[in-house]
């Protein structure tokens, strides 16, 4: 009796550690411009080559300007992008760089190209690599030294993590999204509750989520401290993958499906920890503090501080305990990031925006997760909905999720954001972030303050 994580782990052991960490084989190595230059440089200095460029895919996302194209990049970002280009050229690695039709946030393009598949071991120098677990892959973020190790050997030395089952059952109430499921889970287990574990999300709520929704939940796994989160593949997964550019085809397709179906956790396989969540009690959540565990339902108010961490968070966020969350005015709204910038997210946000205008005091922007998401959204007129309401409609990239490009908050600016981290200064030094779902962000842009999307538009 084995869990899905254990099965995938064992299928990837090249050399069993026997007391030492296991040596694991990596099926897919995703690379971006920020965490790779030092890895390539060390490789070059040691006179080593990339072992499997054909299992490596690169894109540019963290630094890229979201308007004005490459010419708008600052000098240092340009240097990082050029370094990635020359590294990929030298090693023969496929690169979907700025301007390419397949460019986008690394965790958005992997799935949409069909590179991300069930049963794979996927790594990337980025903590949100957990996103790919939505397909039943074992996927986790690594540091630059590990990136170098994978480039050189296509392997990684790891100790086997513990397993945690998070079971979410019941129908999601109206206005509650996958993002709220993720925030609800983190509120329950805490920002380090998953430390040392792989989380498997299960239960009827998870099964009912689209692939986009599952990616949102798995994406936020690292905010609960776990490196990897996963969902067993099913018909939803198979339907999503069929016909994608890198998905198996013809006879390979049937062989792949047979393998994928055997991955699910065996009945009665034990987990080291189990958490059960009743989806019918979830609400749209908003963070009030400076970590993703500090959240309350939007109908609630800023809590009284319990710890010193809470006090420091309230001071940074300039919030008074007891203030109704809906009374908090916002200056900016950001709809984007590897958490919430896929087509379904933009559709949900647009459905709230349609027929309304952005509040005059708010600057709002939509940053699609990939060039492909942008094209698809434009084909169904979502860009027009956003633009007519007063949103800026940008090119694909990580953008204001971490503010490595010109898209940043000014000191003291308050933002309703669909991204994943409300850390101090994350979106710009002195900026204040409230994490929300795409419909909640859209509603806040129109109302000019945080607002309960369930009540929005009723009067």
């Amino acid at each position: 009796m084995k869990t899905m994580a254990e099965k995938i782990w064992e299928q990837h052991v090249v050399v069993a550690g026997d007391g030492e960490p296991d040596l694991l084989y990596v099926d897919l190595h995703l690379v971006h411009e920020v965490t790779s230059p030092q890895a390539f440089e060390s490789l070059r200095l040691a006179n080593r080559r990339v072992r499997r460029p054909d299992l490596t895919v690169a894109t540019m996302d963290h630094d890229v300007p979201t308007r004005g194209g490459r010419l708008a990049a600052d000098e240092i970002a340009e240097r990082q992008m050029s370094a990635l280009e020359s590294n990929c050229r030298r090693e023969g690695i496929a690169l979907y760089g700025i301007g390419h039709a397949r460019q986008g946030i690394v965790h958005v393009i992997g799935p949409e190209l069909g590179l991300t598949q069930p049963g794979l071991l996927i790594v990337c120098g980025d903590s949100h690599t957990s996103t790919h677990g939505a397909f039943g892959a074992l996927a986790f973020g690594i540091g630059t030294s590990e990136v170098e190790h994978v480039l050189a050997t296509q392997c990684l030395r790891q100790r086997r993590p513990k397993t945690m089952a998070v079971t979410v059952d019941g129908a999601l109430p109206l206005g509650v999204t996958a993002k709220d499921v993720a925030l609800g889970i983190i509120a329950r287990i805490g920002v380090d509750g998953g430390r040392g574990h792989v989380i498997e999300y299960r239960g009827s709520t998870i099964r009912a989520l689209s692939m986009e929704g599952r990616m949102t939940v798995c994406n936020m796994t690292i905010e609960g401290g776990a490196r990897a989160g996963m969902v067993a593949p099913d018909e939803t997964t198979v339907t999503y993958l069929k016909g994608r550019p890198y998905a198996p085809a013809d006879a390979q397709w049937d062989a792949a499906i047979a393998h994928w179906k055997a991955l699910a956790t065996d009945a009665d396989a034990p987990f080291d920890q189990e958490v059960v969540i009743d989806a019918t009690r979830l609400e749209p959540y908003v963070t009030w503090g400076t970590n993703p565990g500090q959240s309350v339902p939007v109908s609630g108010s800023v809590p009284n501080p319990v710890t010193e961490t809470d006090e420091r968070a309230l001071a940074y966020m300039a919030l008074e305990p007891g203030t109704a969350m809906e009374a908090i005015a916002v200056d900016r709204v950001f709809i984007g990031s590897c958490t919430n910038a896929r087509l379904e997210d933009l559709r949900l946000a647009a459905s709230v925006v349609r027929g309304h205008s952005v509040h005059p005091k708010v600057r709002a922007m939509v940053v699609p997760g990939s060039a492909s998401v942008k094209r698809l959204a434009e084909a169904e007129g979502l860009d027009a909905v956003f633009r007519q309401a007063g949103f800026e409609w940008r090119d694909a990239g990580c953008s204001m999720c971490l503010g490595m490009n010109p898209d940043i908050l000014g000191p003291g600016e308050r933002c309703a954001s669909t991204s994943n981290r409300n850390f101090e200064g994350r979106q710009g030094r002195g900026g204040r972030t409230h994490l929300v779902s795409p419909p909640m962000a859209a509603a806040a842009a129109i109302a000019g303050h945080l607002v309960d999307v369930r009540e929005f538009g009723k009067n």
Partner: protein
């Protein structure tokens, strides 16, 4: 990687829980393509806000940091470990670390030491009440000594060996080339290839 056997130096306290890697090294400094030179940007925003504890003269040049639980959570940026090393730190003591930060630390030569919360609290008290006090962290004997305080710590034996010897992990793995090639020959044909 520079070998790590023992370090003796000033102990600096940062009594905060969940210090994320965005605080350790803010994103505006991630655009360098070198591994070095990140020290001046360590805790940049907190330093810039003024009156930051690590800027007190007694803690200048500190070699060991004692801090709160879940240190280094968040982003995978190894720049966090590099900036601590570049600023002169060789070891960090905390009740727990973010998984990726801990792994990055081992691989870049920064020693992450996990101690029970009461012992961390005691070290924090000592460092605060006797600013500039020295601590010795000995990886070989897995012991820590600071004034009258002494304790042992547990550590992953594999990474202890790597640190003690300054091993290049890539070189270790390249010795397994035969096993890797054998594994590759068994991979099914339907797996994705990027070309």
């Amino acid at each position: 990687m520079e070998p790590f056997t023992r370090v003796t130096g000033v102990l600096a306290p940062l009594d905060r829980a969940n210090v994320d890697t965005d605080q350790i090294i803010p994103k505006q400094f991630l655009k360098r393509i070198e591994r070095s030179g990140f020290g001046p940007f360590l805790f940049y925003d907190w330093r810039r806000a003024g009156n930051f504890i690590l800027d007190r003269p007694a803690y200048r040049g500190a070699a060991v940091l004692v801090t709160g639980a879940n240190f280094g959570c968040g982003s995978s940026r190894e720049h966090a470990a590099w900036s601590l090393l570049d600023a002169g730190f060789r070891a960090v003591i905390a009740p727990s670390f973010g998984d990726i930060f801990k792994s990055n630390s081992f691989r870049s030569g920064l020693l992450p030491v996990e101690l029970p919360a009461p012992e961390v609290a005691e070290l924090n008290r000592l460092a605060t009440e006797e600013p500039g006090m020295e601590i010795t962290v000995d990886l070989k004997s897995r012991r820590i000594r600071a004034g009258g305080f002494e304790t042992a710590f547990a550590i992953d034996p594999f990474y202890r060996e790597c640190l003690l010897n300054g091993w290049d992990e890539v070189a270790l793995t390249l010795r397994q080339d035969g096993a890797i090639a054998r594994y590759e020959s068994t991979r099914p044909a339907w797996l994705p290839i990027s070309r």
